[in-house]
Symmetry: C2
Subunit: 130 residues, 2 copies
DNA sequence: GGTACCTTGACGCAGCGTAAGGGTAA
DNA sequence: ATTACCCTTACGCTGCGTCAAGGTAC
């Protein structure tokens, strides 16, 4: 079994060990222990990846935990599985909204760049040299 | 001149007046006043829109303020304009990264949905009819 | 004199960053 | 004994939400 230490994961994902411990505090991770030390499995690592991506997309830790819990209980409970599907589709809606924000932002950046560059060009050649 | 009250903007963008005042505290907005009351111009509204979109994309208020300040000084200062262009392109990099996160997330949601639905179908028809 | 706005405080919560102080294994 | 990890505890900052307490305009 491949396992990881907390610093392994911290380095791999460019975060602090503090953050990883905090996710555990909040019930998002539950690594095994070897004495006092935390030992992370591949499954823990996958969870951490999901946490980080979700966070980058603006989801709160509470939200992420709810999804994890729902997913876990959906393995045994059919009603929970249907609920999980519902929540998933609502997340999808939000993500599609974000995609729109991203497109809008990119085109705004394009516009700003275009305008700035025109200003600079004008100043480089004050009188258009025919 | 079209102007807006703080509640106008709060309602339009579905945020609290508290948030709008907070952006002012942080130097991101500087509405005119009519007595003690804040009066927002179209330009203020555009700024607010930019703030909100940037925030939804995970930019910090400090970052947004720096961009605003840079943009303002770029109107007069050529070096600042070049600096502004640099910062813009770094923002673009981050946004493109986010776009990848979004695509990854969407395909993960697709996978989860597909798997869940298969489980449900199996349970609806325990023994494949025919 | 309501009610429907506006104002300025101020306290509280989330999500960590950043030491502080200490144990453990090579 | 130093280096290189690991641990827990705790205080501080950001970005507001949410009262509180009051002023102003119709």
């Amino acid at each position: 079994m491949t396992t990881f230490t907390i610093t392994d994961l911290a380095k791999e994902y460019q975060i602090t060990t503090r953050a990883i411990r905090f996710y555990e505090d909040q019930g998002l991770l539950a690594p095994a222990r070897s004495g006092r030390n935390r030992v992370y499995s591949k499954r823990d690592r996958v969870r951490l990846e999901l946490i980080l991506r979700s966070k980058r997309l603006g989801f709160s830790l509470v939200e992420i935990k709810e999804l994890f819990d729902l997913y876990d209980s959906a393995q045994r409970d059919n009603a929970q599985l249907r609920q999980f599907l519902k929540v998933l589709s609502s997340k999808r809606v939000r993500i599609v909204e974000m995609k729109k924000d991203i497109e809008a932002m990119l085109s705004e950046i394009d516009m700003f760049e275009y305008q700035c560059k025109r200003v600079l060009e004008k100043q480089d050649r004050p009188k258009e040299p025919n």
